[in-house]
Symmetry: C2
Subunit: 307 residues, 2 copies
């Protein structure tokens, strides 16, 4: 058993049992991948993959049982490198953050500015993607920190800390009838076409829930991945918008009016990291910058409990 074999097992699963893909991702040859798999199976004395003829279809029961441990070994091997870097590359390295558009555009800029002042030699990578993909990237150890409102709290293998809470606001063009009302109700909203976030993004779950609870059906004419797109179409008169209040800026968005409401539940945006995967010290400092109340020691402890 060697690390290359374990990496191949992991990557084969990630590439859904396509050995050609696996070999390309690991920068090696197909034949190598194939041979390593069978040699590991031979050494362990058990089939790890279900085969149909020559094709690999899935992990066997045995394969499924040991796969989490394989992942843990590889993560720990990676941890060793990061521990070393903590000594050789002090306050220097890479910090990869996976987050959504809303955070990247409206929330993180001042944090990142401060972080960059404190750690000028840390190369910051901001990877903008969907909440589900953030979970994937975290689980695969491809990013250090994930920040999003959705999906992050479901996964056993992730841990983290709440970042901030917020609510949705209604945005309408200037002089829109809704902007003249004292109080806007959910029923009012159903009278207009609505533009808001896509399913699985930026608290859309809570929006759906509010209408469902009130037994109302909103007329959602368009859903988008980010607030800027929504605002653009609301400006064009396509409908009224429901966006994170964070994404509204009175000055810049002078063509729009934001209406604060309590119609939708509070959302919590989370900072998440993968259990079992150590972070560089500066990564914890970043989290502390985001959420100064975080108990870093407790967070570090929770990392050390993989399931």
């Amino acid at each position: 058993m060697n690390f290359q074999q374990l990496k191949i097992i992991r990557e084969t699963v990630r590439q859904q049992f396509n050995l050609t893909e696996t070999s390309q991702h690991l920068q090696t040859s197909q034949s190598n991948v194939s041979k390593h798999i069978r040699e590991l199976e031979l050494e362990l004395g058990v089939q790890l993959f279900i085969r149909k003829g020559k094709r690999l279809l899935d992990l066997t029961e045995a394969g499924k049982s040991l796969f989490p441990t394989v992942e843990q070994v590889l993560i720990d091997a990676d941890n060793i490198k990061r521990i070393v870097d903590e000594f050789t590359l002090i306050n220097q390295g890479e910090l990869i953050i996976a987050t959504t558009h809303t955070q990247a555009r409206y929330v993180l800029p001042p944090i990142i500015q401060k972080f960059k002042q404190q750690f000028p030699n840390v190369h910051l990578v901001l990877q903008q993607t969907s909440p589900n993909e953030i979970v994937n990237l975290l689980l695969q150890g491809k990013v250090d920190i994930g920040i999003a409102t959705e999906a992050l709290t479901q996964e056993q293998l992730l841990t983290g800390t709440p970042y901030y809470t917020w609510q949705h606001s209604i945005i309408v063009p200037k002089n829109h009838p809704l902007s003249l009302k004292d109080k806007v109700s959910l029923a009012d909203l159903t009278n207009y076409p609505i533009v808001t976030y896509h399913e699985g993004y930026t608290g859309r779950t809570n929006i759906n829930q509010a209408f469902a609870d009130a037994r109302l059906t909103p007329n959602i004419v368009m859903s988008a991945l980010d607030s800027d797109v929504i605002k653009t179409y609301v400006e064009l008169g396509l409908g009224i918008g429901i966006i994170s209040h964070i994404a509204y800026n009175a000055e810049r968005d002078h063509n729009l009016v934001a209406i604060k409401t309590n119609l939708f539940e509070f959302n919590t945006t989370w900072i998440a990291i993968r259990k079992g995967r150590l972070l560089r010290e500066y990564s914890y400092k970043f989290i502390k910058l985001c959420s100064p109340d975080t108990n870093l020691e407790a967070l570090k402890a929770s990392i050390k409990k993989p399931l």
Copy 2:
């Protein structure tokens, strides 16, 4: 980085930085050990060992930081093999138990008999040693289960379950003056020479404590590692004995009288296993046989929290 290098790091620490010893334990050559260490250091870009000239003295700070992770990787690699065995060698394999004389001689026999009936193909190894050594063996992953009264609950990296509680009894030769008294006090005991367990064995801590609390000084003329030795010398008239009540058998020990007392605190004998190290299913069955009330799921969960 490969497994051999990590094994060498671990063994070098275990052998207190003597590379010759390390090579012998790993069945390889001295030069290999030496080279692997320096190549790993080169690859990681950091010194792992403090050297004085050519001799290795200790781990560096960096080495100390990553050592627990190195151990975890190797344990997990071992776990993978055990997981495989769970599929290929069903109810078959090895179960190594480290325990003290008292358990091996007086407590475990009926358990082991039952276990052997249920799992005839499991090779049982009973390793009899001191509580401190049991802790060592557990930490090094050289035994599956440790059973003892002392030392097992101190270590962060161990987890486990209480087995049973017991008290010490006084044993005296037949017709000894103490055997005629209605109630024996601690002060009474100080009037006679005492034979009991060695420090660190079989509840000796509690014996010391009881005398200390009463501000009495016992006249301990001899200390032994096991109850049989103590009984032998009490029979010879060397003094009165203090042994685990479990170790007294009225029939077999017909030359001795046991006096039950509450003079000493209750002792708890523990079953301990190492965190992070998976056990074969039959090992858990063994624990269940010992202590039927154990919540095995909770125990398994506690294994998965290294530190």
